[in-house]
C-alpha cells in the first residue's frame, strides 16, 4: 500500500514537531504567560438563571467601585452581538437572559483578588421566565425561546422513495439513540489580552482556532474598520472545536474593558468558569427506521436527527449539516430520507467539538446496524460487508464516490488485528461462567474533510509565501497550531514542494496584520485544503526564481538560498499567493442540499474490546484497534497521535464524560467531578493506516483530525451489548445507565 516514491524527503516522514523543543522546556508562551505594563484583569458577571428579564444590577457596598472599570451592554459602540452566522448571540445580555452563565456585566481591576470579591458583589436582579430544557419541550413549542418556532435550522435529504419501500421489506427495525453534551476540556482554559489606543486601534492576543472569526466579531462589536483591529494567536493549549467560536466572545469582553479603561486587559477563565460557560458538544436524539431485504441488503433508511443547540444559534446550522450528511454512513441504500433539526433550549449554546455533529449521528447509525444484524440473524460484520458503498456508487446526498474505497478490506484488516473472530467465539463460550463479561464490537464510518457543501467555495481561502533575504521561505496562513501539528505539516509540505531543507521553512505566527485569511482551523481542512494552498503558494516562489533564470532546473538548498537573495536584491521582494478553487467536478447545490458534500472522505473501521462487571456496573475498554484510510500520511507520528488522542476523547464520550445539568446549569464544572480518561483508564490504542493517495491533497493527504472521534462510542457500546446482552442506546454509559438498561432486561 505504501506509495513512498523515492523522491519524497519529508512527506511520509516522522519529522519532530517544529515547536517541540519550546514545549518540552516550558518556553512556549501561552496567553496567561504574557504580562503587559499597567495591565488590568477582567472578570465576567454571569446570569444565575436560565431565562429571565433583567430588572436591575446592584453593586453591593464594601467594594471601592470607583477603582473598577465596569462595562455593560450600554457601553458597546457597535452591534451587540458575537458576529458569526446568524448574529443572534449578544456579547453582553441586555434586558433578557436566555441561559445560565450568560455574561451581563464586565469588571476590570489591577488586583485579581479584589476583582474576584467585586465579581461576587454584583447582584443581578432577574425576574425568571419559564425555560426549556429538553428537545421534546423545545419541539412542543409551549415556550418559544428562539425565533418563531425554536428551530435554528432544519434539513431534508431524500433519495429514492422511502415510503414506497416499506411494503417490499423483509424486515423493518426501529431504534432511538441519544448522546449527551461533552466538554472539550482542552487543558489550557480560554483567555485573551486586549489593548486599545485611539491611534493603533484594537489588538488582541489569545488562545484561539480562528483569528479571522475573532477579527470580524471585533469589527462588528466595536464598529471599527479592518485596519483598526488586529488579532494575534498565542500558543494554544488545545482547542478541539472549543476555541472555534467562544474566543470571539472573550476577545469582545477584553476589548470593551480595554477600550473603556484605556489599559491592557487580560481575561483568563478558571476551569470552573470555562466548563460552565463555554460551548459543549450538542446533545442529540436520533430515530431510525430501517428496511432490509431477505439477503440483508439495506432497502430503506428513514432517519430523524435532532440536536440541542442551546440558547443561541452559534454554529448549530453547520453542526447539524455535517451530522445530517454523515447520518447514513458509508453504506449504499437506494431509499434514504433524513430529516434533521437543530432546536433551541435554555442551555448555554452548544458549539463546535471535534466531529461536529457526525459523532452523534454515527453513534446512532452504528448502533442501529447492530440491531438490524441481530434481528436478521446476521453477524454485525456480515451485515456491513453486504452494504458498504463501493467506488462508483452514490451516497445519500447524491455524491458519487469517485475515489477508490475498500471498506470491506479495511474491516477485514481491523477484524484480524483485533483477533475479532476468535475472541467473539471465546467470549461467547466463557461469558456464562464469568462474573465480568467480555465483549467485542465494531463501528465502520466515514468522515468528510473540509467545509461541508459550498463552504470552501465561499471561504475562498488564501495562503501567502515569501522569501527572506537570507533565502528562507516564510509561509503566511491564518491556520493555527493547537497541538495537531499545523506548523510541522506545513513545513513538510513546503520543503517537499521546493526540494529544500526543512529548516529553511518558517511558519509565520497567525496575526491578522500579517497573514491572509486561510480560513478557520476546523473541519479537518487544514492539512488537506490549506496544505494544498501552501504547496501551490511556495511553488509560486520557485516558479518566479526559475523564470528569472536565477535558479537552474535542478538545484541544491544552497543554490535556492542564493537565488532568493539575488532575486530580492534585484526586485525588492519575492512573494506569491494561492487561492482556493474547488477540485474539478466537485459541486454542491445549496438549494437542493445535494451533491458533493465533501471533496474527500476518510474511511475507517474501529474495533473495541470491553469488560463489563455486572455487579459493580463498571466498564473497561481492554483493547482498541483503529484502522483508517486518510490518503497519504504526511507525518506518521503526528497522525498516529491525532488518532490516539481522538480515540481517547471518544472513549470518554462513550463511558465517562457526563455533563450534569440542573436548571440549565452545569453542576459538575470541575475536573474532580467531570471525568476525562487518565493514563490509567485507557487501553492500548493501536493505530493502522491504509494509504491511498488523494489526487487533490498535498502530497496525497486528506483530512484526519476529526475522524477518530466518530468510531469509539458505537464500537464500545456494540461491544457492551456483545458482552452483557444488553441494548444500551444512550451515552455516556455511566454505571447508572448500565444498571438501568440491565434492570430493563431482567425485569
Amino acid at each position: 500500500m505504501q506509495s513512498d516514491s523515492m523522491a519524497d524527503r519529508f512527506i511520509g516522514k516522522s519529522i519532530p514537531r517544529k515547536e517541540g523543543r519550546a514545549k518540552v522546556t516550558g518556553r512556549a508562551l501561552y496567553v496567561d504567560d504574557m504580562v503587559m505594563p499597567g495591565m488590568l484583569y477582567g472578570a465576567t458577571v454571569r446570569s444565575p438563571v436560565a431565562r429571565g428579564r433583567i430588572r436591575g444590577i446592584r453593586y453591593a457596598q464594601g467594594i471601592p467601585w470607583d477603582e473598577f472599570t465596569i462595562v455593560t451592554a450600554q457601553d458597546i459602540p457597535g452591534k451587540n452581538c458575537v458576529a458569526l452566522m446568524l448574529n443572534d448571540q449578544p456579547c453582553l445580555a441586555d434586558q433578557v437572559v436566555n441561559h445560565a452563565e450568560e455574561p451581563v456585566v464586565l469588571l476590570a481591576h489591577p488586583d485579581r483578588y479584589l476583582l474576584e470579591e467585586a465579581r461576587r458583589a454584583v447582584e443581578l436582579d432577574i425576574e425568571p421566565l419559564p425555560a426549556v430544557f429538553t428537545i421534546d419541550e423545545s419541539l412542543a413549542r409551549q415556550q418559544v425561546v428562539w425565533g418563531e418556532d425554536n428551530i435554528f435550522k432544519s434539513f431534508l435529504v431524500e433519495s429514492g422513495d422511502v415510503e414506497s419501500a416499506w411494503g417490499h421489506a423483509h424486515l423493518i427495525v426501529e431504534g432511538e439513540y441519544e448522546t449527551g453534551a461533552q466538554e472539550q476540556l482542552y487543558i489550557e482554559p480560554q483567555g485573551m489580552i486586549a489593548t486599545f489606543t485611539a491611534e493603533q486601534g484594537l489588538t488582541v492576543w489569545g488562545s484561539m482556532q480562528c483569528p479571522y472569526y475573532v477579527h470580524r466579531a471585533l469589527m462588528t462589536l466595536l464598529d471599527l474598520p479592518v485596519n483598526q483591529v488586529r488579532v494575534i494567536q498565542t500558543e494554544t493549549g488545545g482547542g478541539f472545536g472549543g476555541k472555534e467560536e467562544y474566543p470571539s466572545m472573550i476577545a469582545g469582553h477584553a476589548a470593551l474593558l480595554a477600550r473603556k479603561s484605556g489599559k491592557p486587559v487580560k481575561i483568563v477563565y478558571d476551569r470552573m468558569e470555562d466548563m460552565a460557560a463555554t460551548t459543549k458538544r450538542h446533545p442529540s436524539r436520533t430515530r431510525h427506521r430501517t428496511a432490509v431485504t431477505r439477503e440483508g441488503k439495506l432497502l430503506a433508511m428513514d432517519i430523524e436527527f435532532v440536536v440541542d443547540g442551546g440558547a443561541y444559534a452559534t454554529l448549530s446550522p453547520v453542526v447539524l449539516s455535517r451530522g445530517t450528511i454523515h447520518a447514513a454512513g458509508p453504506y449504499f441504500c437506494p431509499n434514504v430520507r433524513i430529516r434533521s433539526q437543530a432546536v433551541a433550549t435554555n442551555f448555554p449554546p452548544h458549539g463546535a467539538f471535534r466531529g461536529f455533529g457526525a459523532p452523534q449521528s454515527i453513534f446512532a447509525l452504528e448502533r442501529q446496524m447492530d440491531q438490524v444484524a441481530k434481528v436478521l440473524g446476521l453477524a454485525p460484520e456480515e451485515l456491513r460487508r453486504r452494504n458498504f458503498v463501493k467506488q462508483g456508487e452514490t451516497l445519500a446526498v447524491g455524491q458519487v464516490v469517485r475515489e477508490k474505497v475498500d471498506m470491506a478490506g479495511l474491516m477485514e484488516r481491523a477484524l484480524e488485528l483485533s483477533d475479532y473472530y476468535a475472541k467473539r467465539k471465546r467470549f461467547a463460550e466463557e461469558n456464562p461462567r464469568r462474573e465480568v463479561k467480555k465483549g467485542i464490537g465494531l463501528a465502520s464510518f466515514l468522515h468528510g474533510a473540509g467545509f461541508t457543501g459550498s463552504g470552501e467555495r465561499y471561504l475562498a481561502s488564501l495562503v501567502g509565501a515569501e522569501a527572506t533575504p537570507e533565502g528562507r521561505v516564510r509561509v503566511l496562513a491564518a491556520s493555527t497550531e493547537m497541538g495537531q501539528g499545523t506548523m510541522t505539516v506545513f513545513s513538510q509540505i513546503a520543503a517537499e514542494a521546493l526540494g529544500v531543507d526543512y529548516d529553511m521553512i518558517e511558519i509565520v505566527q497567525p496575526d491578522t496584520a500579517v497573514v491572509p485569511n486561510s480560513g478557520p482551523t476546523v473541519a479537518s481542512r487544514t492539512c488537506m485544503v490549506v496544505g494544498k494552498l501552501v504547496e501551490s503558494a511556495v511553488l509560486g516562489i520557485r516558479q518566479q526564481l526559475l523564470s528569472s533564470g536565477l535558479l537552474p532546473e535542478r538545484y541544491t538548498s544552497e543554490q535556492f538560498r542564493q537565488a532568493c537573495r539575488q532575486f530580492i536584491e534585484n526586485h525588492g521582494a519575492l512573494k506569491s499567493s494561492s487561492e482556493y478553487s474547488a477540485p474539478p467536478g466537485v459541486y454542491w447545490d445549496d438549494d437542493k442540499y445535494r451533491g458533493d458534500a465533501y471533496g474527500a472522505y476518510a474511511w475507517a473501521v474501529y474495533v473495541a474490546e470491553v469488560s463489563v462487571d455486572l455487579t459493580t456496573y463498571e466498564i473497561r475498554v481492554d483493547d482498541f484497534v483503529a484502522v483508517q484510510e486518510v490518503g497519504r500520511v504526511i507525518n506518521p507520528v503526528l497522525a498516529t497521535g491525532q488518532i490516539e488522542g481522538g480515540v481517547a476523547q471518544g472513549i470518554g464520550f462513550a463511558l465517562y464524560e457526563n455533563v450534569v445539568w440542573q436548571e440549565g446549569q452545569m453542576v459538575n464544572s470541575q475536573m474532580t467531578n467531570y471525568i476525562m480518561p487518565t493514563s490509567a483508564d485507557l487501553p492500548p490504542i493501536r493505530v493502522f493506516f491504509e494509504e491511498v493517495p488523494y489526487a487533490h491533497g498535498p502530497g496525497g493527504a486528506k483530512g484526519i483530525g476529526e475522524l477518530p472521534i466518530d468510531g469509539p462510542a458505537p464500537a464500545i457500546v456494540n461491544a457492551i451489548e456483545n458482552a452483557g446482552g444488553v441494548n444500551v442506546n444512550r451515552i455516556p454509559v455511566t454505571p447508572e445507565v448500565l444498571m438501568e438498561a440491565l434492570e430493563g432486561v431482567h425485569a
Partner: protein
C-alpha cells in the same frame, strides 16, 4: 478581620536561592509564575486534578496549585525551566522524538512526572508502572500512548547509559 501580611519566604529554585514577599497562603504556582516569572509551570484546573502545575519539591512531584508558599520555606524546588542543561534531558528528547507533546500545555508537568518516574526506575518500567506514575497528569491531546513510548525510550537510554 486581622489584616494578613505578606511574609518573606526563602527557598532554592532550580538551584538558585530566592526570597519572595508573599501572602503565606498564596499558591506556590502563582508565586512561581507571577513573582519569579517562571511561566513554564501551567495552571489547568487549580484544584489538584490535572498536574499541569507539577513541580518537584525536595525531589517529590507535587501540584503547586495546592501548595501554600509558606510551606515551601527552606525547600529545593525544581520547575520545568530547571530540567534541561546545555542539552535537553533524555525525557525531553524522547518527548520531542516520540510525539509526547501536542498542544504542550500538559507537557511541563508531564515531563516532570516522567523525569521522576524514570529516576526511580532501576530497570525498564512495566506498562503499569508508567500508567500509574503518570495518572496524576491529564493530557487531552495525545491519548497518552506517545507519552508512554517517550518514557520507555528515555528509560532505555538512561539505563543504557548506566544512569
Amino acid at each position: 478581620m486581622p489584616e494578613v501580611r505578606k511574609v518573606a519566604v526563602s527557598f532554592a529554585v532550580n538551584g538558585e536561592p530566592r526570597t519572595v514577599e508573599a501572602y503565606p497562603m498564596a499558591r506556590l504556582l502563582d508565586v512561581l509564575r507571577q513573582d519569579l516569572l517562571l511561566t513554564g509551570t501551567k495552571e489547568g484546573c487549580g484544584e489538584g486534578e490535572c498536574g499541569a502545575c507539577s513541580v518537584l519539591i525536595d525531589g517529590e512531584l507535587v501540584n503547586s496549585c495546592l501548595v501554600p508558599v509558606a510551606q515551601a520555606e527552606g525547600s529545593r524546588i525544581t520547575t520545568i525551566e530547571g530540567i534541561a542543561g546545555e542539552t535537553l534531558h533524555a525525557v525531553q528528547e524522547a518527548f520531542v522524538e516520540c510525539g509526547g507533546a501536542q498542544c504542550g500545555i500538559c507537557t511541563p508537568g508531564m515531563v516532570l512526572a516522567a523525569v521522576t518516574l524514570v529516576g526511580r526506575q532501576s530497570a525498564q518500567p512495566t506498562e503499569d508502572d508508567i500508567r500509574n506514575g503518570l495518572a496524576g497528569n491529564l493530557c487531552r491531546c495525545t491519548g497518552y500512548m506517545r507519552i508512554f513510548e517517550a518514557v520507555l525510550q528515555a528509560c532505555e537510554k538512561s539505563v543504557g547509559a548506566g544512569a
